[in-house]
């Protein structure tokens, strides 16, 4: 639905060479420097969840969209839409977690706006952000080549399941924690090590399935993923089994899919695994020579199937 909206209404109305790529951020050249710009709105429900809140999510989400373009996040704008009656202490705690995350990431929030709307005209708190970052390396889906390895920096599905559990009032919320995290630090690390990074994408809404299919489509190559190489925590796996959910379709907020030149793959994996939060990083698949833009999944049972674009949202308002 969102895809259709973007393609048919926005992309056709605003059409230009930057927008046409439909990436998470666009790279522009300004007086010799290359900058990436992105924007995002956050409407997650509940606004405070295990592992984070809407404020931390807003900073991380914007930072990660920039990081996926190999851009060092520098400046953010923040805009709040507040429903009348939102308790002050809730707003304060959200704002302080934004400030904390921005401070840690060394990005400055340099402009903002606030609107208060009457009760019932918004749901507690919506946040819009924009971000500008300095591009360290030019990456495009067109740089992906057959043989490239696909890496992920940790277990999948944590954010989406945490929100689902919190909203449905499932106990065990302690175990299901959002993976909400800024990723510029690990992207920078790989770039500093001169790892041959070809492309990156953060698998947020629609999870690994959606991100992999989008990349297959924009690069034209088919991808092969190996199900039992894709890390998942025991609690997320049990939760998905019980509810009949496909973990690969579930949103992440602190994960990145890296497309790495074959020769550098094991070095990239070592580099990632040396970071405490990425100990479960894994090579989860590779790019095939076939130009069919499909995603194949080698299943745990030893079979193979096509991993399709997730068709229906497991949950609305997860970010």
């Amino acid at each position: 639905m969102t895809q259709k909206l973007i393609r048919e209404i926005f992309a056709s109305a605003f059409d230009n060479i930057y927008l046409r790529k439909l990436d998470d951020a666009s790279v522009v050249e300004l007086r010799g420097g290359r900058y990436a710009m992105t924007t995002d709105s956050f409407v997650v429900d509940p606004i405070i969840f295990p592992g984070g809140d809407i404020g931390k999510l807003a900073v991380c989400g914007t930072v990660n969209d920039l990081a996926s373009c190999a851009a060092e996040p520098r400046y953010l704008s923040v805009s709040f839409v507040i429903e009348e009656g939102l308790p002050f202490d809730v707003l304060e705690s959200v704002v302080s977690s934004m400030a904390q995350e921005a401070g840690q990431q060394r990005v400055l929030i340099i402009t903002g706006d606030t609107k208060v709307v009457p009760r019932g005209k918004a749901d507690r708190l919506f946040i819009n952000t924009a971000g500008i970052g300095l591009v360290h390396k030019t990456l495009e889906a067109g740089m992906i080549r057959p043989g490239d390895k696909i890496l992920i920096n940790g277990p999948v599905a944590q954010h989406g399941l945490c929100i689902l559990a919190a909203r449905q009032g499932f106990e065990s919320q302690e175990v299901l924690k959002s993976d909400c995290k800024s990723l510029w630090a690990i992207v920078k690390l790989l770039l500093q090590e001169h790892v041959d990074v070809r492309f990156m994408r953060d698998p947020t809404r629609g999870g690994v399935s959606a991100a992999a299919n989008e990349i297959a489509q924009s690069s034209g190559f088919s991808l092969a993923l190996i199900e039992n190489k894709i890390p998942i925590t025991a609690s997320c796996k049990s939760f998905c089994e019980i509810l009949g959910l496909e973990p690969l379709d579930i949103a992440n907020e602190g994960k990145m899919l890296f497309f790495i030149g074959e020769k550098d793959a094991s070095r990239a994996l070592r580099t990632l695994r040396a970071v405490p939060s990425c100990r479960r990083a894994s090579v989860i698949g590779e790019v095939l020579p076939e130009r069919k833009a499909k995603v194949y999944l080698k299943t745990v049972a030893g079979g193979s199937r096509v991993l399709g674009m997730p068709v229906t949202e497991a949950l609305p308002r997860i970010c």
Binding site: M1, N228, A234, K237, S238, E241, G244, E246, L297, K298, T299, V300, A301, G302, G303, S304, R305, V306, L307, G308, V311, T312
Partner: protein, 362 residues
């Protein structure tokens, strides 16, 4: 989770598949999985690709919303359109199209339609809406019928006067009979549904299987469960043996669940019922028995008999898909006009629907 992993190991699954392929020899096998959850698991784990092309797995009519007839839906739409009527039903039912509309469309137009995850949520809805009639659209097989049974008993005992039930519950054994006898299908055996079997037990199939004289194995939903059941069927079919085996004894007891069976018997009476794609199957429908039939929406609303409707042609080939005559890709609408976002037929709606299972994994 360790327990599940034991039934998923690639080594064990591939070894089993090799054994089946070797045993299959030089003849073809046509095995039907009746249950939609089996269809989904078979596709999800990539089982067809592990087996030789000689073994064809045919998807049967085992998804509750898929077999619910157009006529039933049109009756439901009629009730939903009435003033002071609230419809409660399982979420998948909202998206099933009939005659170009769905309950979801009616809801967008202002009708009061409540998705529920359990029949037992309905009494609270009814109590909260004293001056409206709440109709529960009861669909599903022996698995969901007991919950509807409890709902009916509770509404009857507690005198919840504004609650009605419109039952489309169906039973599996009569459908097996009809499919097994179908010459065009020419089946070599059945993978019997795990969940339904937990209710009716091995005994529930005894009579039908005796007269069909085909191999049939009750099985679970892990790849190794499914593969070993296929292996058993292939072995038996090769020797022209009729067997009825329980390959899911960690869940299914020989006699099933006596409580659930007694409840179904107490509340429902079996009559002929219209299935999408399979037409009327004798004795396959569960209808409200006396004295509970005072809660029957058919009576309250004077609904037209379902087999009295002329079938409408939407160009959708669900009927062929449901009876295993064609694979979804043979339908010209598959993946084009008909997708999970905008289903033209019911098989594309639910995760258990054959078309949806193919769409997601093809």
């Amino acid at each position: 989770m360790k327990y599940v992993d034991d039934f998923r190991g690639a080594e064990a699954c591939l070894a089993m598949a090799r054994r089946i392929n070797a045993a299959a020899g030089d003849r073809d096998y046509r095995i039907m999985e009746v249950c939609g959850t089996h269809t989904a698991a078979i596709r999800r784990f990539g089982i067809p690709g592990m087996l030789s092309a000689r073994i064809r797995l045919i998807s049967g009519p085992g998804c509750p919303v898929c077999v619910t007839s157009d006529a039933y839906l049109r009756n439901a739409f009629r009730m939903a359109a009435e003033k002071n009527v609230t419809i409660a039903t399982y979420p998948d039912m909202l998206r099933v199209p009939a005659g170009g509309a769905s309950l979801q469309d009616l809801r967008a137009g202002g009708a009061d339609i409540r998705p529920v995850n359990s029949a037992l949520e309905v009494p609270d809805i009814a109590r909260g809406l004293k001056n409206r009639t709440v109709v529960f659209l009861a669909v599903g097989f022996e698995t969901t019928a007991p919950a509807t049974g409890i709902l009916i008993q509770r509404a009857y005992r507690e005198k919840i006067g504004n609650l009605r039930v419109y039952s489309a519950h169906k039973t599996i054994p009569p459908a097996l009979m009809s499919l097994g006898k179908d010459k065009a299908l020419c089946l070599d055996g059945f993978l019997l549904p795990g969940h339904v079997s937990a209710v009716i037990g091995v005994e529930g199939y005894r009579q039908v299987m005796r007269s069909l004289h085909l191999p049939a194995v009750i099985t679970g939903f892990e790849p190794l469960d499914i593969l070993s059941a296929i292996g058993t069927i292939v072995d038996a079919a090769r020797h022209r043996q009729a067997i009825l085996e329980n390959g899911y004894s960690r869940v299914v007891r020989p006699g099933g669940n006596p409580k659930a069976k007694a409840l179904i018997k107490e509340v429902f009476v079996s009559k002929d019922s219209l299935w999408r794609g399979l037409s009327v199957i004798p004795g396959s429908g569960l209808f409200l028995r006396k004295p509970y039939d005072s809660l029957d929406a058919r009576r309250t609303f004077g609904l037209k008999e379902e087999d009295g409707y002329q079938a409408q042609d939407s160009g959708c080939r669900c009927a062929g898909v449901l009876t295993g005559r064609i694979e979804p890709v043979a339908c010209r609408h598959f993946g084009k006009q008909c997708s999970p976002q905008k289903p033209l037929g019911p098989c594309m709606v639910s995760r258990e629907g054959t078309c949806r299972a193919f769409f997601e994994t093809l």
